[in-house]
């Protein structure tokens, strides 16, 4: 973590920096030459404990929330209000038999879930989770993050290929096609942020958004290009994490469970964990890039510690993920690809141009008007014209009637 001086703010340092100070205190018992390494180990332990804990909470909240969206109760049997459900699930998956198909490539089959979880955990290293709370303050943190999250594609394909099962392979092929298609707009939206912030370092991107006009923050989402980027980022992030409505790689009704069809027991639990951790990390990077990272949403709310804001923003975006899952049906493969290459990608490229315009038009209201008009105009044009030839309405069947 950074040992940078604490900037002026109204929250007591002891609260805001509680975790940093606690770490420094623990490390101070060691000889000075050991301290940096020990500090890193402590941070790693914290990350490895906090995010799986959040995962456990999220699974039960997701099931309860989805239930409520469908006018059901959701799990309410294990413990008070069903909150011990993840404990029961954990025990279940630990004690289940770990079945490996006879013809599977055993080594790759074993490595796939590990690769997923490890690479996803690596992404958390560069996320600033609060003021001075970043494990590795890399100059190219953004690049590191996306190189790590791109490795999940590898693990998904490892799982699908090594299982030697047609559903696994179909799921893996779908996953790779989808993830690579949406990786492009995902990265291009972050390029817009880098163009404005002028840095690939995530703490610097957060610092660039930390100012306030009156009580309102300078988050990038409150600019025309930022809003457009954020929306595209959210769509691409949903596709990237295989969440509904982009959950084709594991579409139960079509291909059993996709690439993890042949996984059971704790390996399956690791896939599950990796998927949710990917959701947290992509939410974290979205929060960092567009929603001001750990900065408070209104200037007077600075009395609340910074880490609280980071985690509450992440949890809000997780709620939106769950909300979308409760609402939207799954896309078809061709719709998914058309959407990525014919709508999202051109729009993202245009948005890059608009961002450049914003950068070079200088201060003033003119750039607001110009970039808003361009973005909204193109959005409406593409939405209307792109769908011009599509026929909506009752479907007609040639043979089945």
């Amino acid at each position: 973590m950074l040992a940078a001086p604490v900037s002026t703010h109204s929250v007591p340092v002891i609260v805001d920096q509680a975790f940093v100070l606690f770490k420094d205190w623990l490390v101070s018992f060691l000889p000075p030459s050991w301290r940096p390494a020990a500090g890193v180990v402590l941070c790693v332990i914290a990350i490895v404990c906090v995010f799986p804990g959040l995962f456990a909470l999220t699974t039960v909240f997701e099931r309860k929330g989805l239930g409520r969206m469908q006018n059901r109760y959701g799990p309410n049997r294990v413990g008070p209000y069903g909150f011990f459900q993840p404990v029961a699930d954990g025990i279940k998956s630990l004690t289940k038999e770990d079945v490996v198909p006879l013809n599977a490539d055993v080594v790759v089959h074993f490595l796939a879930p590990l690769t997923l979880v490890v690479t996803v955990f690596m992404g958390f290293a560069v996320l600033p989770m609060g003021r001075n709370m970043v494990l590795a303050n890399l100059d190219a943190g953004l690049l590191f993050f996306f190189s790590m999250s791109a490795a999940t594609e590898l693990s998904v394909f490892m799982a699908g290929w090594s299982s030697r099962n047609k559903y696994s392979l179909l799921g893996a092929m779908r996953a790779v096609a989808q993830m690579i298609s949406y990786e492009v707009p995902l990265l291009l939206t972050t390029v817009a942020v880098v163009m404005i912030a002028g840095s690939l370092s995530l703490p610097k991107i957060v610092a660039a958004q930390s100012g306030y006009t009156g009580v309102f923050p300078h988050w990038y989402i409150f600019t025309p290009w930022g809003l457009a980027s954020f929306l595209v980022f959210a769509i691409a992030a949903t596709a990237e994490t295989n969440r509904s409505p982009f959950d084709l790689p594991e579409g139960e009704s079509e291909i059993v469970a996709g690439y993890h069809t042949e996984y059971s027991g704790f390996k399956f639990a690791l896939f599950f964990l990796g998927e949710y951790l990917a959701m947290f990390s992509i939410s974290g990077i979205g929060v960092t890039l567009f929603l001001g990272g750990w900065s408070a949403p209104l200037s007077f709310l600075n009395v609340v510690p910074s880490w609280f804001w980071f985690f509450s923003k992440v949890m809000v975006s997780i709620f939106v993920f769950i909300w979308m899952r409760g609402t939207l049906p799954r896309l078809r493969q061709d719709q998914l690809m058309n959407f990525a290459w014919k709508f999202v990608l051109p729009f993202t490229l245009l948005n890059l141009g608009v961002t450049a315009l914003w950068r070079f038009m200088g201060e003033g209201w003119a750039r607001w008007v110009v970039s808003s008009v361009i973005l909204v105009g193109v959005y409406v044009f593409m939405g209307r014209v792109g769908m011009f030839k599509k026929h909506f309405g009752p479907r007609s069947y040639r043979y089945a009637e």
Partner: protein
């Protein structure tokens, strides 16, 4: 196609999400072991044997005719006929089942045994909580476990049970009337037979009751 459908859908689920905390009517879930809804009158699960009166062994309607055993498609009924006879509901001496077992793990709830029974002795139960920890014998019900009173039958299938009772009563009445007529005819015959010998009239009391 500007995404307004997505927003509309999101609003709908948000309404459900918030509404389910506010109005209980939205939640249709019946939390089963604690709450339960009464079974429908026409519900059927597995067969049981009806008995009249309070003693199941004495009042059992089954006469061990074994029609149900023969008709049962999955062959889940096993009956052993008794050696002796006991009177049925009209007073006629009948066999009774010395053994009557139904393996409900085999039974497919088709109700054919009920349809073919001429004695209204076997009916469908609505009891469905039959789980047992005895893997081998637990679902093999013997006649004592199968025997349930006519009152119970009235409770679970009131309409059907009333029909059955009406039919049985009319049968019983017809049988009694027939017995009476036969007795009267026998009495008249014996009286006729007695007439040619007026010296020694037969005692008529025996045939008249």
């Amino acid at each position: 196609m500007l995404g307004e459908g997505i927003l509309k859908g999101m609003a709908e689920t948000a309404k459900n999400f918030a509404g389910s905390f506010v109005s209980e009517d939205r939640l249709t879930t019946v939390e089963y072991p604690e709450q339960r809804i009464p079974t429908f009158e026409n519900a059927r699960v597995f067969p049981f044997l009806v008995y009249d009166g309070s003693d199941w062994a004495a009042g059992m309607r089954c006469v061990a005719c074994q029609i149900c055993e023969k008709e049962c498609p999955p062959k889940c009924i096993y009956i052993e006929k008794s050696q002796d006879k006991k009177p049925d509901f009209v007073g006629k001496p009948q066999f009774y089942p010395a053994r009557f077992d139904i393996d409900v793990s085999v039974c497919m709830s088709c109700q054919i045994c009920v349809e073919v029974c001429p004695f209204e002795a076997i009916k469908m139960d609505t009891e469905f909580e039959l789980a047992t920890d005895n893997r081998f014998g637990g679902l093999l019900l013997d006649r004592e476990e199968l025997a349930k009173s006519n009152e119970y039958y009235h409770r679970i299938h009131p309409t059907e049970a009333d029909e059955v009772d009406a039919r049985l009563n009319s049968e019983k009445a017809a049988a009694e009337a027939k017995a009476k007529a036969a007795a009267q005819a026998a009495a008249a015959k014996s009286a006729d037979a007695a007439k040619p010998s007026p010296a020694k009239p037969a005692p008529s009391t025996g045939g008249e009751d």
